[in-house]
Each structure stands twice: as C-alpha cells, then as structure tokens.
Amino acid sequence: MAFIEAYDLVKRYIRPDGQELVAVDHVGFAIERGDSLGVIGESGSGKSTLARLVLRLIEPDGGSVSIDGVDVRGLRKGDLRRRRSGWQIVFQEPFASLNPRMRIEDIVAEPLVVHEPRLPAKERRDRVVAILEEVGLSGDLIERRPGHLSGGQQQRVGIARALITDPSFVVLDEPTASLDMTIRASVLRTLERLRRDRGLTYLFISHDITTVESMCTHVAVMRHGQLVEDGAACDVLSSPQAPYTKELLSARLLVDPGENRARRELEDLVAAEQQSKEAAGCAE
C-alpha cells in the first residue's frame, strides 16, 4: 500500500445558476513515501480542489483517501483535527494566509500550541527560531508582523508554520505562483532540500510545468476535473501520451533564453518555408 492513496475522488458544486459543476471527477492516484507528485493543469482544472479534498479541508462527494494507512474520510472531526499536525498545507497567497495581526513567532508557533500544548514556552520559542532558520529566515524576524516581510519571506514563514509540527506529508498549493522569478527558484530549492532532509512526501500543485519538472518525481495532468495522464515525471514530460499534455508542454514558457531563441528561429524558418510554398502556388 502506497503512503498516500486516493481513489475515485469526486467533488461537485452547484453554481449560482443552478447548474452542476464537477470540479473533481473520479480522480485517483498514489504517492510513495518520500516521493513528490506534481499535479499540473490550467486554472479551473480542479487541482486546488483536489489538494483540499486529499486533506479533507472540504468534504468530498465520493471516493476515499488514505494517508499512511489512515482512512481520512472515516475520521471523526476531533481525530481529524489532531491528525492535522502530520499533514500540512502551504497556500499560494502567502500574505493572505497569514494573520496580519499576529507576530511571526505566534503565527509559526500556533500549530505547536494546538498540538503540543504542554511544551514549555522557552522550548517553543527555540523550535520557532530553529524552523525559521531551517527555511532560510533569520530568527530575528519573530517580533515582526507579516506586513513587514517581503513576499518570499512571507512564503517561507508559511512553510515554517507547516513544518513546525514535523509533518510527514505536505500539500503545496502553487507555493511559488505569486513570487517573482528569482525568489521562486530559491524557495523551490529550499522546498527540495527540506524534502530530502526530512523525508517529506509532497503533493505539489502547479500550473507551471517547469516548476513541476524541477521538483517532482511523478506528474499527474488534470483537465476539466479529470486526470488525463500520470506517471513518472521523466516519462510524462519527455514522451507525453495524452493530447492535452502535449498541448501543455508545447505551450510552456521556456526559461532558458538560448532554447527560446533556437525555437523562435525554427518557427521563423518554418513560416518562411510556408510562405515561399504559398508563393509558388503549391501550398496544400
């Protein structure tokens, strides 16, 4: 049995106009311990809904999830809440997900207060400083509030808060989508280092193939709520089977400017060839 197993997950919404929207349509997958599954797809494909279903932040309409052998849907509310220390999530909008009224120390320590209430204050503070340093922040930030930090720092606070209870499974819901390019790379490197150091299992949601390519051992492609293709990252990304995956891959932004230029030159060449053919009257 895999570490994370999701079977046949379904989530339906009734839109205000009364029509039914199937946000997640019979989706299943498995992740082995220590692996990282990247879920890619365009906006509205249901990837974020899937992320929330796996952690039961929203109730599924069908299907089941097991994490480390625990049937998530079968848990009672109180048990589910207690288990959350082992399963955490990092959201896309770092600033919106941090309480602007709280100090960084209180934000990061909050899961500890809930899950390890008997921890002495001194020890709690040490752990906050330690985790902040582990995610690449200075321990001096504990007195600040989120509004005083940059976007990248805020997201690192979000990651620190997710990791402070020492979870085994972390859902990353587009953790770098709202960060700029240079910071994105450094946050991704931090996440990758944390996964290896702590043996974490990731479910990584992204619309950016390049990000998933650099981060994930496995890839699943979603469209209109359905899983169109999944498998090992190298297989899916080098020889995609589903037409939609091919489309996604051809539409990706190329980060390497050299590659970009080569592609543009090739396209120009093809266009020129086409034009000369048309001019000669032998098109089609």
């Binding site: 932040l57 955490q88 959201f91 009224r101 899961p111």
Partner: protein
C-alpha cells in the same frame, strides 16, 4: 499609555469642533424650514399684530446671524432654548427623557448585535445549505417589516395573547411608587432613591420596546455578519488556520476579528438610526422618551425642540465614532503599537493604520 491618552484627547478635540459644525448646520437648516412658529402657536386666524408681537418675544424678528450667535452662545452655557409651546427648557427635557430612551434602546441594540452575530454566523457556516436559505428568506421578510408593525405584533402576542407583558402605556403602572424628584428622570430617580420595585417595573415595561429594537435591527446586522463571515471563512487565512488543526472556536474567533470593524461601524450607524426611529417605537408604547418628544416638536414646528433633538442625535453619533475610532485602534495590535509607543506617530502613519 500616555500615547493612548493623547490619542483619545485628540479625537475628543476633533469631535468638539465637529459638534460646533453640527450646531451651525442644524441651526441653519431648521431656520430655513418653511412656516412661522408664531403662526403655528397662535393658530391660522391670528391677528398680524399678535403674530408680530410673539415673533419679537421669541426673538424671531432678529437677523439670522444674531439669532445664530445667541444660540451658539447659549448652547456653550448649556442653554439650548425653551420649547415654544410648553416653555420648558430644552436641556431639562432632554435630561429627563434621554435616560428613558436609553433604558430600552441600549439593551435593544446590544440584543440586535448578539442576535445578528448569532444568526449571521450560523448562516455563513451553513452557506448555501437549507439553514442559510431559510435565514435569507427570514431576514429579508424581517427587513421588509416596519418597526411599528413589529411592535404591534409583539403587543398582540405578549400582552393581549399570552398576557406575559405589562400594558404598553408608559414606563410604569399606576400601582408603582413614585420616587421623589431629584434629577427629573424617572429612571435615575428610581435608581438613586432605591425604589427597586419601580425600577423593576420600568425594566418590565422596557422588555417589549427592547425586543422590538433588537429584532428590527438584528436583520441588517445579521446580513452584514453573514456576508463578512462567508468571505472570512473562505479566506486563505482561515483555511490555513483550519488546515493546521485549530479548534473550531479559535477559527471562529479569527473570522470574527476579520469582520469586527465592520460590525462595530454598523453599530454606530445603527445607534443614530435607532434614535431617529425612537419616535415610532415610543409612540406605539406611549414611552416618555426623546423620540415621542421630538415628534411632537417636529409636527408643531417647535424649533428649539427640533434643534435639541438634532443635538442629541449628533452627540450620540459623534461619541459613537470617537469610541469606535479609539477601540478599533486599540484592538488592532498593528495600530496599538503606533499610538501607545513613546514616539509620537505621524498623522500619515495614524491615518494608514486607521483605514486598514
């Protein structure tokens, strides 16, 4: 703490100037009202000489600026003029009647807030489910019901039907002992004189007006709470709080903190609107408060009384906004640090904190 005191004083000074502006505005507007008070007092067929004589007696023959300066000068000394009809000083009538109004209005508004938060939150937690839909229908119906209909329904149900409420004619029954007059206000006299039976009777009589105000204003409050709470509960911050396993009550507290400012602002708006609506409730219950008093004044074109009522409404709103500004600043740790710190905060910093 000195920073906080300075901040409060600052707000009060600003409030004082706003109060002067309010007096000016109300005096000008009321002066511009059509109709002659002298004619209203003497009747339609009064002789022109009598009207002119009364105008001189009331001081209405003087030019506007002189009357204005007289009024402001008097108001600074606590003299808001006398009623044209009863001859009673306006300030004395206000002191007599404001406690009577507050005795049902203040608990009524608190009840409205509590009910509003309760029902609005339940609806938000049950968003788009049957309970929420029932709430939407119920609150919409309630919003469409005029306050006096609600009052009459309550009287029919609780007094005529079940017989659990006292007769809706004033604050006390004829059987109640009358405390000796000390302040002019029956409520305060009963309290100061230790006439607990009378005070108890006043409270008993205040229950129906209180419920009327409470239920009437619960509808808009609950709508505001529901809208704000639905947004707050869907916010990433609350989702994050849930995801890390916080207790539901703690999650609710965070969501409440998000909408606290909106609810508090609405409370002050509601206060002003409830005072102006007091005329209707007090007419239905024959309640001797400021509402019924002002209504008589308005109908008779009794200018000092109308101005007196404007002053009361304005003061209530201004005080409300001062309290609101100060509490929102103190409740939010981001702005609290700015006003209580040793360094004097720049106006820009303060403004930034307050608009957030």
């Amino acid at each position: 703490m000195r920073g906080i005191a300075r901040y409060v004083v600052q707000r009060i000074v600003v409030g004082w100037f706003l109060f002067l502006g309010l007096l000016t505005l109300s005096f000008s507007l009321v002066s511009m009202l059509p109709g002659s008070p002298a004619k209203a007092i003497l009747g339609e067929y009064a002789a022109p000489d009598d009207v002119a004589a009364l105008n001189v007696k009331l001081g209405l023959d003087k030019p506007f600026l002189e009357r204005y300066l007289d009024y402001i000068g008097g108001a600074m000394k606590g003299d808001f003029g006398k009623s044209y009809f009863t001859g009673n000083p306006v300030l004395q009538s206000l002191l007599e009647r404001v406690p009577n109004t507050l005795v049902y209005l203040a608990p009524g508004l608190i009840l409205a807030t509590v009910l509003g938060i309760l029902f609005g939150s339940v609806a938000a937690y049950r968003y788009r489910r049957p309970a929420d839909r029932a709430f939407t229908v119920g609150s919409s119906v309630l919003l469409a019901v005029p306050e006096f209909i609600l009052a009459l329904l309550l009287i029919v149900l609780c007094f005529s039907g079940l017989g659990i409420a006292p007769a809706p004619v004033g604050m006390t029954s004829s059987a109640d002992a009358q405390p000796p007059d000390r302040t002019g206000s029956l409520v305060l006299d009963a309290l100061l004189g230790g006439y607990w039976g009378t005070f108890d009777s006043i409270l008993g009589h205040a229950v129906l007006p209180m419920i009327t105000v409470g239920v009437f204003f619960a509808a808009p409050v609950s709508k505001i709470v529901r809208t704000g709470m639905v947004q707050a509960l869907a916010s990433p911050q609350i989702e994050f709080a849930r995801a890390c396993g916080l207790r539901p009550f703690q999650v609710f507290r965070y969501a409440m903190a998000e909408i606290r400012g909106t609810v508090m602002t609405y409370f002050v708006i509601m206060l002003a609107s409830a005072i102006s609506g007091a005329a209707i409730v007090e007419s239905v219950f024959s309640w001797p408060g400021v509402g019924g008093w002002s209504l008589t004044g308005v109908l008779a074109n009794d200018i000092p009384v109308i101005q007196g009522f404007v002053v009361i409404m304005g003061t209530a709103s201004l005080l409300g906004y001062i309290v609101l500004d100060v509490t929102t600043t103190l409740l939010d740790p981001r702005t609290r640090g700015q006003v209580s710190g040793k360094r004097r905060p720049s106006p820009r910093v303060l403004a930034k904190g307050l608009t957030k």
